[in-house]
Each structure stands twice: as C-alpha cells, then as structure tokens.
Amino acid sequence: MPMIEFKNVEKYYGKFHALKNINLKIDEGETVVLIGPSGSGKSTLIRTINGLEEIQEGQLLVNGFDLHDPKTDMNRIRKNVGMVFQHFNLYNNKSTIENVMLAPRIVLKRSESDNKQTAMALLEKVGLADKAANMPSELSGGQKQRAAIARSLAMKPKALLFDEPTSALDPEMIGDVLDVMRDIAKDSSMTMLVVTHEMSFAKAVADRVIFMADGEILEDSSTKEFFENPKEERAKKFLSQVADH
C-alpha cells in the first residue's frame, strides 16, 4: 500500500487552478524530492497531504485514509505525518525541549520521563542538546530548523513533509540542516517528501524526483534519470537555470 496516493486531485484558490489532475504514488520508506519553478504548486501539493490545504476534487489517500472524506479525522493523520516549514514555526512561547515535548505529551500522552528521554535523544541527534533550555528567539535559523525537525520526529511519524526547509536560511546554515535530513532519509521506514531547490541534496538523497510547473506534474522519474536525461523541455530549462547558481 502506498503511504501517499493522489488520484485525479484538483485544487482551486477561488478561480485559480492551483493543482491540476495530480496523480502520484509515494511508497513507504521512499524519499521523493519535489522541484519546480516558484508558483508551480509544490508547496500547495505538499500542504494538502496533512490537510493544511483542502482539495476540491479527486482522492488523496494518506496512510490509507481518504483526506477528502469529511469523516476522516485530520488530527489522526497529522499524528502520523510530520511537517517541516520554510519559516520553522517553532512555538515562540516554549523552550527548545518544550517544543519537542509538547505534542507527544498532550497528543500521544507519552509519559514525562519517556518523553524527556526521547526529546533529549532527538536534540542530541540534531546537534542541539546544549540548546534544550533556550527559547526559539535565542537560536539561529539553522538551529531553529533543526529543532523543528526534532519536534516532528518526536511524534514518530510515518512520513515527513519538508516545505522548502532551507530556503529561509543563510548559506552557511544550510549544510547542517541537510545533514540532518540525510540522516533521516537513511532510515528505511521513513517516507520523505521534500520541496527544495537544493539540487545536490536531491541528487544525493532522493529515490525519485518529481518536477512540477503550473500546477501540473510534468515529470516523475528516478533521480538518476531525471538529472542525466530529463524528458520534458521545461525540466531541462529549469535544470540549466538552477545549475547556473
């Protein structure tokens, strides 16, 4: 069973057709990178998967549940699908470790000692053990993003969505965040969908690359095939443009 499956999904913002007939399957454990020019619908697509954006038509199955069905409990989906945002969205009123511990405590009812242990281990993993007691305002951008990743992992999700996780970071901060993401991708059971402009990351980590433009999926190929031999003209053009940087 695929972890995430789009069947003829359509999404509109008023009259604007943001997602056009999306068909996409992502299997459990897969790492998929979603690229494309800005305004192509990448973020919209990824945000539909945990219900931050509603779809208007079609079927969207996540972990076997149909998101378009009003009977589906969105909170249950979100328990299993974590998300990392471009602007981190850490809880500004909570310390780093509290950011990591809050949802497991109140949503999963994890015991306090277990929760603390898990949180510390995760902060260790992302290199922030010494910042556990600091407030988000005292962290750098890269540290914030790594804390946000730890926060998502604490829920032990089946899938993680990354919405341009390094786009708001200073260049020297990007490496640390990508390293953490690379580590997560190594875990064979974690399904990852990453919207990014980091082509080297895509090349090194992704199993598959999906190229979007104007709300459509134009190309869905293995990483090797996509970078060595892109089929679509727009994908070729996009690759040559990002390669210039």
């Binding site: 979100r78 974590g82 407030m135």
Partner: protein, 213 residues
Amino acid sequence: MALLENNFPTFMQGFGYTLLSSIIALIGSMILGTGFAIMQIMPQVWIRKIGNIYVQIFRNIPLLVITFFFFLVVSKYVKMSGFTSGTVALMLYTSAFIAETVRAGILSVDAGQMEGARANGLSFGQALRFIILPQAFRVALPSLGNQFINLVKNSSILAFVGGLDLMYQGNMIAATTFETFSTYIVVGIFYLIITLPLSYYMQHLERKLKHAA
C-alpha cells in the same frame, strides 16, 4: 478626617462592594471576553458572526443603559438586586472590550504558529490553549490592564441602581453631612486604593513577561 472617622464603616462597606463587584466582573468578563474572542476567529463563519454580534451590541450601548436594562427589565423575570444587575451589566459591557483586545492579540500571533501546531498533531483547541493564547495575552496585556482599570472605575454605575458601592455610599454621606467636597475626595482616594496597585501590578506583569520572551 472627622468625616472619614464618623462614616468609616459606611465607606468601608462601599469599598467592599466596589471591590467585590470589580472582582466578579473582572473574572467573568475575562472568561466571557476570551470566549467571544475565540468565537470570532473560529473557522466556522456562523460562529464568528455570533461572536461579532455580541461584541457589537455590548460595546456600542452605554453601560448605564445596559445596567438599567437588567435592573428594570430583566429583574421583572429574574429576581436580582441592584448590586447584581450592575455587576452583570459591568461584566457583559467589559467583556465586549476584552473580546476585542484578546482577538487583536490572537491576530498578532503569526499564522505559522497555528500551522506548526496543527501539523504537529495538536487540535485547534489545543493549539489555542498551549500556543496561541499565551502569546496573544502577552501582546494584549497593556490593553487588558486599561480595561481592568476602566472596569473598576465603571463599577460606580452601581450607585444608580442602589448597588451599595463606594459611589452610592459617597452620595449618601454627602447628602446627609453636606460635606460634598471632602466626601468625594475620600471616595476618589478609595478608588485609587484599588486602581493604583492594579496598574502597578499590570506594569510589573508586563515587564516580567517581556523578559520571559
């Protein structure tokens, strides 16, 4: 001074009722105001509408009119004293302003905070309680302090409906002693005994929370 000594129990009784009315109305209006603020930011349009109608009604009618409505109209159906009608009116009136203050506080919190919380598995209510409201109250604090001080001062409408408060007792004392000037000076000082510590406390809280941020 003789005036204060001779009428001390009466002043104290008024002071007590003013304090009691203020405390009840403050707690009640905080709860109601926060509730109506939340209603106004709910995803469901009809809930937002109800919240908005409530706020518009109680914010835009003079407090005295609301007080008389409870004292003269509602009391025909539900038995209530002047003290109760005045306190209820004060609570409802202030809650509309608190709702607006808290709503503004909620709107000042970055939308990413709610998205982060929802994506993290929290329900809308949990996100409000643990993430949004604590940040909203911090922003709203200076303005809430003003509302609280206004509330204490506005409690003087109890005098119009025999509410036994400071203003009411002051009126009585002034009418019997004819020492109008001194009486109202004493009344004013009694109000200050409540409002000055309250405003210092609010400023203290503001400073404390600023450092915590």
